[in-house]
Amino acid sequence: MTTAEPEVNVTEEATSPRGRLANVAVGTALIATDQIRDGVRSVRVKAVSVATEFVGKARGRTDQTATKVRTAVGEADQRGRDSIETRRRGVTGLMDSAVGGMVGWAQVNVMPRLVDGLVPHLISDVVPRLIDGALPEIQARVVPVLIDDLTSDPRVRELILAQSRGVLGQVTEQVRTGATRADDRLEVAARRMFGRADKESNAGKSAHDSRGA
């Protein structure tokens, strides 16, 4: 019983003129809020679509511009290269001809005089001093190293061995050839002297004992 009384009070308060006014105010506020929310939403959608479209167009323009810039840079690079190459060839040809001419001129006019003037001085003064100065060092330091390298080099050893074998083989071959020739000559001489064996072997008239083949 004590709990039913406050509910009656609230209902009564809402249906009173003051309560209605409050309700209308609250309802109007809610409706206005909804309207504002819808408006904001539609504005946001439109703004996003506009921005997307703008971005797309801007990207297209940027791509076109980049392509154009790239093409222009490529063309400039190619032209630059061509130009440098042409100049370089020209300069090289010029340098070659100039240097060739100078060298030819120097060979004909300068070098002979220079050499003629230098050689006696080199022979009489410079070379003896060089030899006197360098020879002891060469003998003491270079020659032993060279000899060590040569004697321990397997290629040199192989070469010497092959040469020795070659000489030995050549001598052996000569001895064999000489002995074979002497065999035949001795035999012919004996047969000529006694006139027996040539009957067997001469001119293919006689037969051959196949055991000896």
Partner: protein, 163 residues
Amino acid sequence: MPVRAPMTPEALKAVDGWTIPVSESSYAGLASRVTALAIDAAILTITALTISILPVVAWREVIGTSPGWLKALCGILAAVLPWLYFTFSWHWSGQTAGNLLIGIAVQRDSGGRVSIVQAGLRAAIGLAFAPVWLAGLLGILWSKRRRAWHDVVFRTTVRRVVR
């Protein structure tokens, strides 16, 4: 029975206007064999001298007076060396050092390797009767297979092994 075949011009070679069957050239002639023998003789002389003298001299220099048995041993070794040299050379390879240099080899009549007995007897007879041996080499000049008398006796031939 030997098979006889007609000799073609290709099987002949000319020497001083005379012709020699090429088949005979596959056997070692007198010059080759004498040269090989001379080389062997030189080698054996040096080796035998070394064997007979060097140990005795070395003993004398290092220890003192060389004993009789050493001299006898060295003498025997030096005397036996030629027989050993020829026997084993002919038996093993058919070639002594001289033969090797000239490129000839002793073989059996049939072409095989000389047996140890055959080689031993050949060497012994050759060393014991050297003059007869040397005279027998003249048989090479008239033999179709260039065989010396001792080759006929011991049934051997001496062929060229390197052409």
